[in-house]
C-alpha cells in the first residue's frame, strides 16, 4: 500500500469579527496542527464530539476551505496526462479534416513538458516529428502519478484534481437541489468538470446509478420522491460518477434509520472494493466507524489525541478522552449497564481552548505538566512501520523516559 493523502501540521482558523470595523477579535481554532497519512484503499475513520473540528478537517483536505497553515499532499493521477489526451483528440479531429498538423502545438507541448521531462537532446530531436508521435512519446515519459500539494496548487490545476476528490454530505435532503431531476443532479459533476458530453453523460449517469442500486426508472424524478436512504444513494452516485480516488464521507449515515444505515454501510464497502476507493469516514457514531474503518483518529478540540488501528483502539483506548468517549457508547446489552457516567463536564469553547493539553480540565489523570505543555502525538508501540503504529498525545501514557 502506498500513501494517498498526507497531511502535515494542518491548521484552519475561523475569524470572529467584531466591533464597528468588523475587525478580527478572536479565532476559532477548528483544526490546529493535525498530521496523518491515509493509505490507498483504506477507510480512515475520524471520530469526536460535535465541535471538535472533524468536518472542518475533511473539508480542508478537499480544499473546500482554505487552510491557514500546513500542507496537504495528494498522490493523484497526473493531470498533465489529461492534457495530452486532449491534444491527441484535437489532432485526431484535425486529421479528419485533412488539414496538416499544426507546428504551433508541437512547440507548445514541447515548451510545457519537454523541459520538464526530456533532456535537451531529446527535445531537439523531437522538434521535427509529427504531433501524433510526439504525444505518444511524451505520454511514455510523463509519470502516471504525481504528488500534489493541494495547499499551493493554482486554482485552475486544482480544478482538474478535484474530480479525484469527492464528498458525500451528512443530510441528503439539503445536499440535493429539490428543483433538479435526479438525472441532472448525478450528471452535474461530469458537466462541471468537462469530462463527458452528449450520449456519454447519459451512459455514465446510468452506470453510476446502477452502482448504487438505483435504476433507469429513477432518472426523471425529483429528490423529494425518494426515501432518506435512497437520497443518500443518489448523493453517493453523484460522488462516484467522476471516478474519484478519494471520497470524504461526512456523517453519511446519521440522518437515516438503523435498518437503512446497515444497507448504506454495505454499499460503501461494495463500492470501495469495486472502484478501488479510499474513504475518510467522519462520524460521531463510534460503532459505525468501528465497522467500516481500518484506522481511526480521535479528535478533541481541533487536535488528534489518538490514532491507531481500529481493533487496537476499540479494545484498549489509551488516551483518557478516548477512553471516556468509548465508555459512553450505549451498548445494546442490559447486562452491561454502567453505574456512573464515565466523564463529567462538557467540551470547552474552541475560541479559548485550555492551555497545555486541551483535555486537562476534565482529565482524571491530569498532572502538573499537562497544564503547561502540549503533549506531542507519539507512537507508543515504537514499531518500525508507522502505518501500524498506535499514536497517543498524552503525558500520562507517553511518560518522559524514566
Amino acid at each position: 500500500m502506498d500513501t494517498l493523502i498526507e497531511v502535515e501540521n494542518l491548521k484552519k482558523y475561523f475569524p470572529i469579527l467584531g466591533g464597528v470595523l468588523r475587525k478580527k477579535i478572536a479565532e476559532v481554532k477548528a483544526v490546529d496542527g493535525v498530521s496523518f497519512k491515509i493509505e490507498r484503499g483504506e477507510t480512515f475513520g475520524v471520530v469526536g464530539e460535535s465541535g471538535c473540528g472533524k468536518t472542518t478537517l475533511g473539508k480542508t483536505i478537499l480544499r473546500l476551505l482554505k487552510p491557514n497553515g500546513g500542507k496537504i499532499f495528494f498522490n493523484a493521477p497526473n493531470d498533465e496526462l489529461l492534457e495530452i489526451t486532449k491534444a491527441e483528440e484535437d489532432i485526431k479531429s484535425l486529421n479528419q479534416k485533412r488539414s496538416a498538423a499544426s507546428p504551433a502545438r508541437v512547440t507548445r507541448l514541447l515548451k510545457r513538458y519537454g523541459m520538464k521531462y526530456l533532456s535537451k537532446e531529446e527535445a531537439d530531436k523531437l522538434k521535427g516529428v509529427p504531433d501524433a508521435q510526439l504525444t505518444t512519446y511524451l505520454r511514455e515519459k510523463i509519470p502516471d502519478y504525481k504528488k500534489y500539494d493541494l495547499t499551493r496548487l493554482p486554482s485552475a490545476r486544482l480544478r482538474r484534481i478535484r474530480r479525484h476528490l469527492q464528498i458525500v454530505y451528512q443530510d441528503p435532503t439539503t445536499s440535493l437541489d429539490p428543483r433538479m431531476l435526479i438525472r441532472n443532479i448525478v450528471a452535474e459533476p461530469l458537466i462541471a468538470q468537462g469530462l463527458a458530453g452528449g450520449r456519454k453523460v447519459h451512459e455514465m449517469t446510468l452506470e453510476a446509478l446502477q452502482q448504487v442500486g438505483l435504476s433507469e426508472k429513477h432518472l426523471f424524478r425529483y429528490p423529494h420522491e425518494f426515501s432518506g436512504g435512497q437520497r443518500q444513494r443518489i448523493a453517493v452516485a453523484r460522488a462516484i460518477i467522476t471516478h474519484p480516488k478519494f471520497i470524504m464521507l461526512d456523517e453519511p449515515t446519521s440522518a437515516v434509520d438503523v435498518s437503512v444505515r446497515a444497507q448504506l454501510l454495505d454499499l460503501f464497502q461494495t463500492l470501495q472494493r469495486n472502484l478501488d476507493l479510499t474513504y475518510m469516514f467522519v462520524s460521531h457514531d463510534l460503532s459505525v466507524v468501528e465497522v467500516v474503518s481500518r484506522r481511526v483518529a480521535v479528535m478533541y478540540l481541533g487536535k488528534i489525541v489518538e490514532l491507531s488501528q481500529t481493533e487496537e483502539l476499540y479494545k484498549e483506548p489509551l488516551h483518557p478522552y478516548a477512553h471516556a468517549l468509548f465508555a459512553s457508547i450505549p451498548i445494546p446489552d442490559p447486562t452491561r449497564r454502567r453505574e456512573r457516567p464515565p466523564i463529567s463536564g462538557e467540551v470547552p469553547s474552541p475560541v479559548n481552548p485550555p492551555s497545555g493539553c486541551r483535555f486537562h480540565p476534565r482529565c482524571p489523570l491530569a498532572m502538573e505538566i499537562c497544564r503547561r505543555e502540549e503533549p506531542p502525538l507519539l507512537d507508543v508501540k515504537g514499531g518500525r512501520d508507522p502505518r501500524s503504529g498506535h499514536f497517543v498525545a498524552c503525558f500520562a501514557v507517553n511518560r518522559p523516559s524514566g
Partner: protein, 392 residues
C-alpha cells in the same frame, strides 16, 4: 410483584389527513405504563412513537386526529380518560401529573426569556398556592424578628398575601398593586420561586445554578439546555414523565450524563418515564421495559433483559441484528418502511418478514402474552398458542 398501572392506552387509532391521503399513523395500539418504571418506546422514523407520546398528553393537533381509543390516567382522584375530559381539567394534568421533555432543547426554550423566568412560569401555573403559603410563613417569621418600619411593611405584605389566597381579584389588591411600597408583596413570592428554581437546577447537577437562573438559552450548551428543559418538566414532581428522544441531539459523553441523571431522578422522585427513542443502546442503558413499534403498531412489549436476550418478533430480531457490532456482519432488513397512506394489509411487516406465512397478509396478529410479561404481535406465536390449547 405486580405493579399498578399508571397509564393505560387502549386501542388508540390516529390518522393524519394530508393532501396525499389519510395517513394511518396509529393502528389500534395498547400499552400499559406501570407506576415507577422506565419504559422505552423504540422504532424507526415515522413508526408513530412520537405521536403515541403526544396522545398521552392529548396534544395531537390538526391535521392529526384521534379516531378512537382511550388513554386512562390513574391519578389521585381516580381514573380519568385524558382524551375525554374538559380542557380546564386537562390543563391541570399537563405539567403537573404528566409532563414532557422534548427532543430539541433549543427549540423547547424561549430565546427571549431567562431560564429562571421560564421555569417560574410552570411554578406560577401549577404551584402558586404553595408558593404564596411559603412566602406567608416566611413573612410571619420576619414580622416576629424585625421591628419598626420593616416590621410594619412586612405586616402589610402579609395581609395582602393572605388576601391573595382568599380572593385574588379583590379591589383592595388591585389598588395596592399600584402603590410603590405595598406592591412589594409580589416580590416576596418571586423570591421564593427563585429559590425553588435554584434548588431544582441544583438537583439536576447544573454547576453554579445562581448564575444559570439569569442566563438566556443561547448562553447554554446543548447538555445544559437539556438539563434546563428536564428541570421545567420536573417542577411539579410529575407522576408520569414523557421523554421524546431527549438525548438525540447531544454528544455521546453528554448523552451518557443525561441518561444517568434521568435514571437517578426516577429513583429519587419515583416517577414513571416513557422514554421514546430510536436507539436500542439507550434502551438497554436506561429502561426496565421496552415496547417496539413498527408502522403504527406495537409489535413487542417485554422486560429489557429477556428482550435483548431473546427478541420474539421478527422485526425486533432484525432491528437488533442491524446494529453494527465489531467482528459481526450486520444484517440489514430488506425493503423500506411502508407508506402509512396505504399500509400493507394484515400484519404490516409481512412484506419484509422472512418468516411470513400465508395468513400474514390477511389477518392482523393480536398482541398476545407469549411468555410471562413478554407480549408479541406475530402469527408465529399466535399459532403456537393455538396448538398448545388444542393439545391440552
Amino acid at each position: 410483584m405486580k405493579q399498578e398501572n399508571l397509564v393505560e392506552i387502549r386501542d388508540l387509532y390516529l390518522n393524519f389527513y394530508t393532501y396525499d391521503g389519510v395517513v394511518q399513523a396509529l393502528d389500534g395500539i395498547s400499552l400499559d405504563i406501570k407506576r415507577g418504571e422506565i419504559i422505552g418506546l423504540v422504532g424507526e422514523t415515522g413508526c408513530g412513537k412520537s405521536v403515541t407520546s403526544l396522545s398521552t398528553l392529548a396534544m395531537v393537533i390538526s391535521p392529526g386526529n384521534i379516531e378512537g381509543g382511550r388513554v386512562e390516567l390513574n391519578s389521585e382522584k381516580g381514573k380519568v380518560d385524558i382524551l375525554n375530559i374538559k380542557q380546564s381539567e386537562l390543563l391541570k394534568i399537563r405539567g403537573r401529573e404528566i409532563s414532557m421533555i422534548f427532543q430539541e432543547p433549543r427549540a423547547a426554550l424561549n430565546p427571549v426569556y431567562t431560564v429562571g423566568d421560564q421555569i417560574a412560569e410552570v411554578f406560577y401555573h401549577h404551584r402558586m398556592e404553595e408558593l404564596i403559603k411559603a412566602a406567608i410563613s416566611e413573612l410571619e417569621n420576619e414580622v416576629k424578628r424585625t421591628k419598626g418600619y420593616k416590621q410594619s411593611v412586612a405586616r402589610r405584605h402579609l395581609a395582602l398575601l393572605n388576601q391573595v389566597l382568599k380572593n385574588p381579584r379583590s379591589l383592595k389588591l388591585r389598588f395596592s398593586s399600584k402603590l410603590p411600597i405595598l406592591r412589594g408583596y409580589r416580590n416576596r413570592v418571586k423570591r421564593v420561586t427563585r429559590r425553588e428554581t435554584v434548588e431544582l437546577l441544583r438537583l439536576l447537577r447544573i454547576p453554579d445554578p445562581e448564575r444559570v437562573v439569569d442566563m438566556y438559552p443561547h448562553e447554554l450548551s446543548g447538555g445544559m439546555a437539556q438539563r434546563v428543559v428536564i428541570a421545567m418538566a420536573l417542577t411539579c414532581n410529575p407522576t408520569m414523565l414523557i421523554a421524546d428522544e431527549p438525548t438525540t441531539s447531544l454528544d455521546v459523553t453528554v448523552q451518557m450524563q443525561i441518561l444517568h441523571l434521568i435514571r437517578e431522578l426516577k429513583n429519587k422522585l419515583g416517577s414513571s418515564i416513557l422514554y421514546v427513542t430510536h436507539d436500542l443502546g439507550v434502551v438497554a442503558e436506561t429502561c426496565e421495559r421496552v415496547a417496539v413499534m413498527y408502522a403504527g403498531n406495537i409489535v413487542e412489549v417485554a422486560e429489557v433483559m429477556p428482550f435483548f436476550k431473546k427478541p420474539m418478533h421478527p422485526y425486533a430480531q432484525a432491528l437488533l441484528q442491524s446494529i453494527p457490532r465489531p467482528g459481526q456482519k450486520f444484517v440489514s432488513i430488506p425493503g423500506t418502511v411502508p407508506s402509512l397512506i396505504s399500509p400493507p394489509t394484515g400484519c404490516r411487516f409481512h412484506d419484509r418478514c422472512r418468516y411470513a406465512l400465508e395468513m400474514c397478509p390477511q389477518v392482523k396478529p393480536p398482541l398476545i402474552e407469549a411468555e410471562e410479561g413478554h407480549f408479541v404481535a406475530c402469527h408465529l406465536y399466535t399459532l403456537k398458542e393455538q396448538y398448545k390449547s388444542l393439545e391440552s
